[in-house]
Each structure stands twice: as structure tokens, then as C-alpha cells.
């Protein structure tokens, strides 16, 4: 039962990541490979402040949000001049640099040794320590992320993002400060990813850089693409499919190293097949082209 709840919690963490990435990739047309880096920024910031200063859960999540928002402005800067595939390459660079910091800044992050002993959350007296309570907490975070994305996309602000995705020059011609809109959307996406990271760090109580590699970013992109970009349900469908289906490999009795490879082959081939035959995903509305 705990195993089942654990899978559900992970599915929710990934749903938040996929929804926040969809706000960038599916709604604004800014496909970012740096999403695992923001996930990691949130996880590392809240782990470090929680371990070193013993601050409560709410404060440590907030710290992760602030750091991710600040860094997101730097990462969204290249979108000033770059579009589509060039923007992807730029975020790729940021992902590699931030990963390198997680992995190599020994004094701060302890590098590959990771940070153990992250306290489990206590929220205003509610001590979250069973899987079921974590599921409730994760569900709250997911609902919050869903609400934020829904609120943004159904507002005039979201319509400007949509316009930027379809034709940025035209949005500019209508007097919209597209840089402001892109940077704000990017910050919101980064903040939601950082929240998922904080949740993950306090749930697993141990983090190391291997959870925040570029492959993790590609996994989240696969979720958005397979579920469907530019829709509210697509990222949720993608996250649930990609978290639960590979678990089936566990029951076939394969050794874990083979299962890890097969899982990645599964993501990779799904990405290729989707891009070839159905770029808008299972339930999405946007196929990454104008």
C-alpha cells in the first residue's frame, strides 16, 4: 500500500513539473531544457535552509521560490534574441551550468554525496510523516499549481502569452512588452518547479545531483509532449502515464539496471513516435509549430 501511495506522490510531483513546463513550452512557446535545474534549485535551497537553519517547512519552500524566481530572470534573458531551437540550446547551457554547481560546489551542496537528514514537514502543527499525509500535501501542491496555471491561462495575461506563442512580432506590434510577459511566465514556471523540488526534498529527506540531470528535464518534456502541450489535462496525463507505466517493468522481474535502460528507451521512442505522428500529444492542442 505504501508503495502505491509512493508512486502517487511521485506522479503528483511530476504533474506539478509538467504543468509548470507546459506554461512555458505549451502556452508561451518557450521550450526549456532547464526545468530540472529549477526543480533542483528549489530542492537544494529548501534542503539547505532546513538543515542548516532549522526553519519550518513553509519558510524553506518560500526560500526555494525566491531563489528560483531570481535565477529564472537570468535564464529568460536569452529569449530576448533567441527563438525556438536556439532558445532550447540556451536553456540547455543553463541546465548544464546549474547541474555543474549542484555537483561540484562541494562546500555548499556536498556534491555527489548529497544532503541527508532533511526534516519532514511540519505545517502549523500538522506533522506530515506518513505516506498518506504526504499524498494529501502533494495533492494540495498539485491543486495549487493547477489553479495558478488555470488562472493565468484563462486571463488576459494568458491570452498575451498565447499571442506570443503564435506570432511574437504581431504581439509586439499591438504594443505588448513581450519580454515582460515572457520573463513573468518563465518566473512562474520556475517557481512552480521549485515548489515541486522542495516537496520532493522534504518527502525523500535526501537529495543528490542525480535527481536533477538533463535527462530529468527531458523526462519532464516527454511528459508534456506525450500528454499534450497547451492543455490543462495533457501534462497530468503525461506525468501519470510516464510515472506509472515503467513501474510495470518492476513486476516483470528484470534487474534494476536493465529496467532503468528500458525505461529510458521507452521515453525516447515515445518522444520520436509522438513527434513524427502526433506532435500535439494525447490530449493537447499545440504541436510546437505555428
Amino acid at each position: 500500500m505504501d508503495y502505491f501511495l509512493h508512486i502517487l506522490v511521485l506522479a503528483m510531483v511530476y504533474t506539478i513539473l509538467a504543468m509548470s513546463l507546459d506554461l512555458l513550452a505549451g502556452r508561451t512557446g518557450l521550450l526549456s531544457i532547464a526545468h530540472a535545474a529549477f526543480y533542483g534549485l528549489g530542492a537544494y535551497t529548501s534542503a539547505l535552509v532546513a538543515v542548516h537553519f532549522g526553519v519550518p517547512f513553509v519558510v524553506s519552500v518560500f526560500a526555494g521560490i525566491v531563489v528560483a524566481a531570481l535565477i529564472s530572470f537570468i535564464v529568460s534573458l536569452p529569449s530576448l534574441r533567441l527563438h525556438d531551437d536556439y532558445f532550447v540550446i540556451a536553456t540547455f547551457g543553463f541546465q548544464m551550468i546549474l547541474f555543474s554547481i549542484f555537483n561540484n560546489w562541494m562546500d555548499l551542496t556536498r556534491g555527489p554525496l548529497g544532503i541527508p537528514g532533511i526534516p519532514q514537514p511540519v505545517i502549523f502543527g500538522w506533522k506530515v510523516d506518513t505516506h498518506l499525509e504526504f499524498l494529501e500535501l502533494a495533492a494540495m501542491f498539485t491543486c495549487f499549481a493547477y489553479f495558478v496555471v488555470w488562472r493565468i491561462t484563462s486571463s488576459p495575461f494568458g491570452r498575451v502569452l498565447h499571442a506570443i506563442r503564435e506570432d511574437e512580432v504581431f504581439a509586439k506590434a499591438l504594443g505588448k512588452n513581450t519580454l515582460y510577459f515572457k520573463a513573468t511566465a518563465f518566473a512562474v514556471g520556475a517557481v512552480l518547479a521549485a515548489m515541486a523540488g522542495s516537496l520532493y526534498a522534504h518527502y525523500i529527506t535526501y537529495i543528490d545531483p542525480t535527481s536533477f540531470t538533463v535527462m530529468e528535464s527531458i523526462l519532464v518534456i516527454s511528459m508534456v509532449i506525450i500528454g499534450g502541450a497547451g492543455s490543462l489535462w495533457g501534462p497530468l496525463v503525461g506525468a501519470v502515464v510516464l510515472v506509472t507505466l515503467p513501474e510495470a517493468l518492476r513486476f516483470v522481474g528484470l534487474p534494476s539496471s536493465v529496467a532503468a535502460n528500458l525505461r529510458q528507451i521507452f521515453y525516447g521512442s515515445l518522444l520520436v513516435i509522438m513527434m513524427m505522428f502526433r506532435p500535439r500529444g494525447l490530449v493537447g492542442s499545440y504541436g510546437f509549430s505555428k
Binding site: G93, I97, D167, E168, V272, M276, F288
Partner: protein, 294 residues
């Protein structure tokens, strides 16, 4: 031995490998207009083909090299025919193709990892020589071979592009596929042969790199990252730019070690990438980027 010169020699050698991978990647990018990330997978396939030939079948490395190039070439051509060509017929955007090629890279890398394991394999034969002393630095025969192949391959590809009919067709398709089509150039076969040629170069680079430092399934990904940076720093469509870009990041990677701990090598390369993307996205010698169409 002079330590500073050693950094420079190591940097040139690393840069030469990057430049060789980047040349194939850059040719494909120039002619087709999209980032072919699976190039890293094609590269790793070439290296593992050489591993099977030398290790399992006992061939010499010089005999295995052309066969590895052929394997890479076939793999690259097959990827074009099976995946990219149908996508381009459906007018997929470069971004969509990039995502698909990322998926292909993951598939190839994990298949290699399943088949050969994650440990480092070696194809070097006999004892490791300590190399020649050159301007106060040690340089191994493999490094000499890498640098000589770099110069020869760049010369040959440069001449091929500028003086042969097929090279002219490649440049024409790269400049404007529709106009090339109007003039009767069959752009699909030009693209296919570009993939075959570029992938063969990846196979050559892979055998040299595997000979020097061994092979792992993630070697393709690492080489690809270097190639992406070299092509962007050098500029789209410029052979000389790609060579300079490859050498620049190879040097940067090794000169960083002079002042900083070696684990910051990767970060420094990507810092160069970001600086170029922010300040000069067309690279050293490239033409300005395409603007958003109205």
C-alpha cells in the same frame, strides 16, 4: 616539461576531437537547418563498432577505422530516411525535429548501455607510449593522429564544398531549399548524402577519441555537447568557424584547469555558449540568425 605548454597541447587535442564531431554536426545543421542531436548516438555507434572489430574479432585499429566510419554513415543515413525525411515532408519545424532527435539519442545511448554495460571499454593496443616531447610538452601518437586527421579532413571537406558539383548543391540546399528545388536540385538525396558524409566524420572522430580515452555509452552525449557549442560559437555554415569554435572550447576547457579545479571544465564551456548566445548568436563567422517571420 613545461606545464603551461602541456595545457595548450591537451587543449588543441581536445579541440580537434570536438571540431571533427562538430564538422559533421555543423554540415547537417547547415544543409538541413535543424539540430541533429542523434549525431551523438551515431558517434557512439561508430566507437562501439570499432570496439567489436578490434576486441572481439581481433582486427587492427587501422582496419577497423573505415568500417566504423561506414557503420556510423549507415546509421546516420538510416535515421534521415526513417525519421527526418518523413517529418520534413510533413513540414515539421526545426524545434519538432530537435525533440525527435533528442529521443533518438536517448534510445541509442540506452541500447548501447544495455548491450555493452556502463563501464569504460578500451580499444588501445599494446603498451601506452609516453609520447614525443614537443615544445616542452608530451604528445602521444594518438594525439598527433587526431590533429593530422583534423587538418586533412577540414581541408578535404572545404575543397569538396567549394569546388565539387555536389558540394555546391549542398551549399545551395543550405542557403535556400526551395530555390535549390527550382533549379532542379533533388534536395532529399542531397540531405541524405550529407547525413551519410557527416556521420562518417562522426565515426572517424569517435574511433580517435575511443582510442585516446576509451568508450562509454554516454560518450556520444558528451561529444555532442561539445559539437553544439563549437557550431554555435563558430557560426552556421562556416567550416573555418567550426574549426575555430572546436579549438576555442578545447583550449578553454584545458586552460581553465590552470586556474580552477578541473570539475569546472564543463561549466566553463557552457558559460562560453551562453555568452555567445547572448551577445553574438550568429557566432564568429556566421550570418545573422533568421528572424521571426511576420
Amino acid at each position: 616539461m613545461i606545464p603551461e605548454m602541456q595545457y595548450v597541447v591537451n587543449g588543441i587535442n581536445a579541440g580537434a576531437t570536438y571540431a571533427l564531431v562538430a564538422l559533421g554536426f555543423g554540415l547537417i545543421f547547415h544543409v538541413c537547418g535543424f539540430f541533429h542531436f542523434a549525431h551523438g548516438g551515431v558517434y557512439a555507434l561508430g566507437a562501439y563498432a570499432a570496439y567489436i572489430l578490434t576486441h572481439e574479432l581481433g582486427w587492427s585499429i587501422w582496419a577497423a577505422m573505415p568500417c566504423a566510419m561506414l557503420v556510423s554513415s549507415i546509421a546516420g543515413g538510416a535515421i534521415d530516411v526513417v525519421v527526418y525525411c518523413p517529418m520534413q515532408r510533413r513540414r515539421a519545424t526545426p524545434l519538432v525535429i530537435l525533440i525527435a532527435s533528442l529521443g533518438l539519442l536517448i534510445v541509442i545511448q540506452n541500447c548501447l548501455s544495455l548491450g555493452f554495460g556502463d563501464d569504460t571499454k578500451s580499444i588501445s593496443e599494446g603498451t601506452v607510449s609516453e609520447g614525443y616531447l614537443f615544445l616542452g610538452a608530451r604528445i602521444t601518437p594518438i594525439q598527433v593522429a587526431t590533429i593530422i586527421s583534423l587538418v586533412m579532413v577540414f581541408g578535404a571537406v572545404g575543397c569538396f564544398l567549394h569546388f565539387s558539383g555536389f558540394g555546391r548543391k549542398m551549399r545551395a540546399v543550405g542557403n535556400d531549399p526551395e530555390l535549390a528545388c527550382v533549379f532542379g536540385v533533388d534536395s532529399e538525396s542531397v540531405v541524405f548524402l550529407t547525413f551519410a558524409l557527416g556521420s562518417a566524420l562522426a565515426g572517424l572522430a569517435a574511433v580517435l577519441a575511443a582510442w585516446d580515452t576509451g568508450l562509454t555509452p554516454v560518450m556520444g552525449f558528451k561529444a555532442l555537447l561539445g559539437a553544439v557549442v563549437a557550431v554555435i560559437v563558430g557560426g552556421r555554415g562556416s567550416i573555418l568557424g567550426i574549426m575555430l569554435g572546436g579549438l576555442l572550447i578545447g583550449m578553454a576547457q584545458h586552460l581553465v584547469v590552470w586556474k580552477l579545479p578541473s570539475q569546472w571544465q564543463d561549466a566553463s564551456v557552457f558559460l562560453i555558449l551562453i555568452i555567445f548566445l547572448l551577445l553574438r548568436p550568429q557566432g564568429f563567422l556566421g550570418k545573422p540568425l533568421r528572424k521571426v517571420s511576420v
